[in-house]
Symmetry: D3
Subunit: 127 residues, 6 copies
């Protein structure tokens, strides 16, 4: 595959995961490093999310879990919205976080659940 196609595939994935507003925010990265932006789109979304075998929803389960484990809570907000966009239910997300409590400890799970609560409220308001 040419780099061109990898980038296009990544942009396509991002449209499925994120709202236009979120994508515009992300694209601010272009001003800091156009090369890094290209890498995020082509590799992070094109090469990884663009693959088969796992659905976008299954990939978000993996992404949410690793972000909670790493304590990467700013990124968690973005991917909680993506998870809802690709069809995970609130109940499944809550259950995922509870499962994490036993595996990464309560401090990170509690923080994740608090953030999930905010995102859930926000999505209700915009409905």
């Amino acid at each position: 595959m040419e780099d061109n196609k990898r980038y296009e595939s990544g942009i396509h994935v991002m449209e499925e995961l994120f709202s236009e507003e979120v994508r515009n925010g992300m694209a601010g990265m272009k001003n800091i490093s156009p090369d890094f932006w290209e890498m995020i789109v082509s590799f992070g979304f094109g090469d990884l999310y663009g693959r088969n075998t796992l659905s976008h929803a299954q990939r978000e389960v993996i992404t949410l879990t690793t972000l909670i484990t790493q304590g990467a809570f700013d990124q968690l907000k973005v991917h909680l919205r993506a998870a809802l966009n690709v069809g995970l239910s609130k109940e499944e997300i809550i259950e995922l976080i509870m499962h994490c409590a036993g595996y990464v400890g309560f401090p990170k799970a509690v923080q994740a659940m608090g953030i999930a609560g905010e995102i859930f409220k926000e999505t209700e308001v915009t409905k």
Copy 2:
């Protein structure tokens, strides 16, 4: 629920996840701390895996992801076998690890893939 039932529920889950050999190995914990053994069974398996909303296979996706992210590779071996037992395919596990490469970095993903390769080979032999 009485503690008795939580423990029984945990034992039941463990029978679904692990072979008898693995369970016997785990039960060695009883000799070090019977209370901790009880907690692992009742909370770790009874309270968490025993819940609804997510299937055992979905829970193993979460467990594998957090173990890779933490670099907990000894535990990963046990849960790779459990993942296969509850119906995840080799292709899905490989795909999960590749997805992790972008989110936790290649060093841990490479190590996880090497371990997965060993477990896959082992399960072929025992067939």
Copy 3:
């Protein structure tokens, strides 16, 4: 023990650790997931802090140390207040953070000490 008693034991522990204001803040979790709230109280406080062998003050030494090591600084604030409530002195907390500097590195220790400074000031004002 019945679940009922585990929950009651957890609530009792929380009254010893946290001010009413902090407990009310924590209870907001009920609105996001009543099951997770139940788990936090029954397991996190009832099953763990409710055990013998170690005092609440000794348990807070463990909790503070793991939170600093994980970089879980939001949770650290809550448990610094709890540590003071169950009898750890400011001098002991400062000493704990200095010890951590050698074991988890200065970046996390410096951040923890800054937060401890804020909590110490806050508790002086309320006196």
Copy 4:
């Protein structure tokens, strides 16, 4: 070497790394724990940065990398400014963060790049 000299050496290093404003902010630590402040200066800067074999710029490459890997983003801000002060270029810092993407995963690299963008903008304004 006497402790006196270790402290003086540390203060000297800090003058090379940080602006007066940043150093004054750091010195607030004296009010929380004078002993910890002494340890930061004498050990963290005197004993470590004061050594030979690696330049200050090379040491900042190490420091930035470990801070990104740990997710210690508050400390990262301080050391991004120090890195620029001791001669690392923006291009080198961007390249370092991109390299980290493959080794610690994109979530932390993306967050680090966003912070670097802010620091770069800030240093342009003050020129």
Copy 5:
């Protein structure tokens, strides 16, 4: 304090924490880097363990907790022996690890408990 005294203080602390066999093993570091060996002794043991306010036993509680949280299991073995040497009981160590289960997750706690079991057995044999 002169560096000489910091080193002597560190050696003195190490004699209280570790058996002669363990100390001889550690001293192999001198062959790789005499400067790093000096830093371990003077800073790691002299400056940190040599301070007041917390007892050696309390410091080992902190050290064990951070090692479990970091997954630094090779170092954990050494400090489990040290913890027993300075007066922590097996019951207290088991309780510490159980407390960690809730705060760092079961995978690391389970691994730590297994290692503690080995160390306990080993110390019984040498009695």
Copy 6:
């Protein structure tokens, strides 16, 4: 750039970093997942190490630092050899690890230094 070229660029970088023996070991990954092998070569080595602005030696400083911080000690062995291959001296590597002691804590630095000692001895023998 076509994928073909990214892969070739990655293979070229790997020849500069690793001995033939190490590369053959790595290529075992092809048997587990040919796609992951392609990703490691094309992205991990082609896209990242193949870029300009930082030399291979500077990139190994970053790689060693993040591996020590993550506690990824199996990967550390491979990259310590690579670091020596691309021109870092033993003195620089020792200094890097000592610097890390202050930033990630002594446990991981001590373990890294022990491993470095083994690799240094091994390279002396093969001379």
